[in-house]
C-alpha cells in the first residue's frame, strides 16, 4: 500500500509543481488560445487556397494548371517546419503582422495544397450526369458548380477534410520554432523550468487529445446533418 501511496503523493507534488505553482497553468491556457487561434485561421486560409488551387488543377487552360501543379508539388515536397521558417523569417521578415497570424498563413499555405487535392477528388467524384442535368436546365457553369456539384462534393470529401483539419491542429505544434508559445511550447517551457519530464509532456498530450476529441464529436454531428438526404 505504501508504494502506491508514495507514488500518488509524488504524482500530486509533481502536478502541483508543474501546473499550479507560479500559475504555470496560465502558460498552458494561453498556449491553448494560441493553438486554437492559429488552427482556425489556418483552416480558413487552407480551404480558400485549396479551392483556388483545385480550380487551377481542374482548369482546361494551361497556365493555371501549371501553377497549380507547381504549388502542390513544392508544398508536398518540403517539410512544413522549413515552410514555416521561410515564411516567417524570409517572406514576412519585414512585415509588421502579429506573429500568430504569420504562422496561420504558413499553415494555411501548407494545408491548401492538401485540401486542393481533396477538393479536386471530391469534384471529380460527382457524376458528370449531374453537371449535364444542371446545364440542360439552363444553369450556367458557375451555378451548376455551386448549387449542384459542390454541395454533393462537400458531402463526399467531408471525412477527408476533417482528417486534414486534425492533422493541421497537431502540425501547429511546431510554431515554437518561430517563438510562439502554443501548447507544445508551454509544456516544453514547464519541463525546462521544473526539471520534470513526465508531467508536462503527458499533460501536453492530454490537452491535444481532448481538443481533438471535442472537435471530432462536433464534426460527427455536422456530418450527420449533411447525410440527411442519404437513405441507406
Amino acid at each position: 500500500m505504501t508504494g502506491i501511496q508514495a507514488w500518488f503523493s509524488d504524482f500530486c507534488n509533481s502536478f502541483e509543481k508543474c501546473f499550479i505553482r507560479e500559475d504555470r497553468y496560465m502558460l498552458l491556457l494561453n498556449g491553448i488560445g494560441i493553438t486554437i487561434k492559429i488552427s482556425i485561421l489556418a483552416v480558413f486560409i487552407g480551404i480558400l487556397i485549396g479551392m483556388l488551387i483545385a480550380m487551377c488543377n481542374l482548369s482546361k487552360r494551361k497556365l493555371p494548371k501549371i501553377f497549380g501543379g507547381i504549388y502542390t508539388d513544392v508544398i508536398r515536397g518540403t517539410p512544413s517546419v522549413t515552410q514555416l521558417m521561410i515564411i516567417y523569417f524570409v517572406i514576412f521578415a519585414t512585415v509588421n503582422l502579429d506573429k500568430w497570424i504569420i504562422a496561420a498563413i504558413a499553415f494555411g499555405v501548407n494545408s491548401g495544397a492538401y485540401v486542393s487535392e481533396i477538393i479536386r477528388g471530391g469534384i471529380l467524384s460527382v457524376d458528370h450526369g449531374q453537371t449535364e442535368a444542371g446545364r440542360s436546365l439552363g444553369l450556367n457553369a458557375f451555378q451548376t458548380m455551386t448549387r449542384i456539384v459542390i454541395p454533393q462534393a462537400v458531402k463526399n470529401i467531408f471525412p477527408a477534410l476533417c482528417n486534414e483539419f486534425i492533422v493541421l491542429i497537431k502540425e501547429t505544434a511546431i510554431v515554437g520554432y518561430v517563438g510562439l508559445m502554443d501548447i507544445q511550447k508551454a509544456g516544453d517551457f514547464i519541463k525546462s523550468a521544473t526539471f520534470e519530464a513526465f508531467m508536462p509532456l503527458v499533460g501536453t498530450a492530454v490537452i491535444y487529445y481532448v481538443l481533438i476529441k471535442i472537435l471530432t464529436l462536433i464534426l460527427r454531428q455536422i456530418e450527420k446533418q449533411l447525410r440527411k438526404s442519404d437513405v441507406r
Binding site: D127, G129, Q130, E132, A133, G134, R135, S136, L137, G138, L139, N140, Q143, R147, I148, P151, Q152, K155, S229, D230, V231, R232
Partner: protein, 240 residues
C-alpha cells in the same frame, strides 16, 4: 421549330454524325430509332449543345444556336432534357429538384415555382413525394420526377434520351404513360428510344438513324410496316 443542316460530329477520328438534315416542326413527336452506336443519342445531345457539332448548322426558332456568341444557357432554357440515368440532384428534395432552376434563373418566384411544382407532380402522379429525396424513389418514379423537373422551365421542346432504358420492365409503362400525355398536350418532342410499340403509337414521325445518317424518315406506318431502306428492314427484323 428546329432546323438541322448538314450536321457532322466527330470524336477524334470517329465520325458519329455524318451529315444530318432534318426539320422538326411545332407539335411534332419525333421518335429516333436505330442500332446502338448509330449516333442517335449524339444527335439529340447536339440539339441542346451538350455536344458541340463539328460541322453544320442548327436553328431553333430561326436562331442559329451553334455559333460562337450564342448564349447557350438561354437556348437550353427552351429545351427540356430527360436522361437515361435520370440525373436527379440527390442532395435536394423532389420539390427542390423541380424548383431549383426556375427560381435560380428568376423565371418564377419561390411561391410560383412551388405551385407549378405541385401541379407538375400531380400530373406525373407523385404529389405525395414532394418532400422525399431521390434515393427514396423507384426508378420509374425518378424518371417521372425528371420529366416534371424539365417541364418546370416551361420548355418549348422536350428531348428524351432513352428515358426507359435504365428501368426495370414493370416501370417502363408508367413513364411512357406520362410521355403519352405530354404528346397529347401538343408538346414538341424528340425521343430516342428502343420502345418500338411506343414509337408506333405516339410518334408523328419516325427517324431511323444508322452510321450517322438518317436512313429513313416517315410516319410510323410507313417505317414499321413498309420500310424502304434495306438497313431499316434489317434493324426492324431484329427488334420487332
Amino acid at each position: 421549330m428546329i432546323q438541322v443542316k448538314n450536321l457532322h460530329k466527330k470524336f477524334g477520328d470517329l465520325t458519329v454524325l455524318d451529315g444530318i438534315d432534318e426539320h422538326i416542326s411545332q407539335g411534332e413527336v419525333v421518335v429516333v430509332i436505330g442500332p446502338s452506336g448509330s449516333g442517335k443519342s449524339t444527335f439529340l445531345r447536339c440539339l441542346n449543345l451538350l455536344e458541340n457539332a463539328t460541322d453544320g448548322e442548327i436553328y431553333v426558332d430561326d436562331q442559329l444556336i451553334n455559333a460562337p456568341k450564342v448564349n447557350v444557357n438561354h437556348v437550353r432554357q427552351k429545351m427540356g432534357m430527360v436522361f437515361q440515368q435520370f440525373n436527379l440532384f440527390p442532395h435536394l428534395t423532389i420539390m427542390d429538384n423541380i424548383t431549383l432552376a426556375p427560381v435560380l434563373l428568376k423565371k418564377m418566384t419561390k411561391e410560383e415555382a412551388v405551385r407549378r411544382g405541385r401541379e407538375l407532380l400531380e400530373r406525373v402522379n407523385l404529389s405525395e413525394k414532394a418532400n422525399a429525396y431521390p434515393a427514396q424513389l423507384s426508378g420509374g418514379q425518378k424518371q417521372r420526377v425528371a420529366i416534371a423537373r424539365a417541364l418546370a422551365m416551361n420548355p418549348e421542346i422536350m428531348l428524351f434520351d432513352e428515358p426507359t432504358s435504365a428501368l426495370d420492365p414493370e416501370m417502363v409503362g408508367e413513364v411512357l404513360d406520362v410521355m403519352k400525355d405530354l404528346a397529347k398536350s401538343g408538346m414538341t418532342m424528340v425521343i430516342v428510344t428502343h420502345e418500338m410499340g411506343f414509337a408506333r403509337e405516339v410518334a408523328s414521325r419516325v427517324l431511323f438513324i444508322d452510321q450517322g445518317k438518317v436512313m429513313e424518315s416517315g410516319t410510323p406506318e410507313e417505317v414499321f410496316t413498309n420500310p424502304k431502306n434495306e438497313r431499316t428492314k434489317l434493324f426492324l427484323s431484329k427488334v420487332l
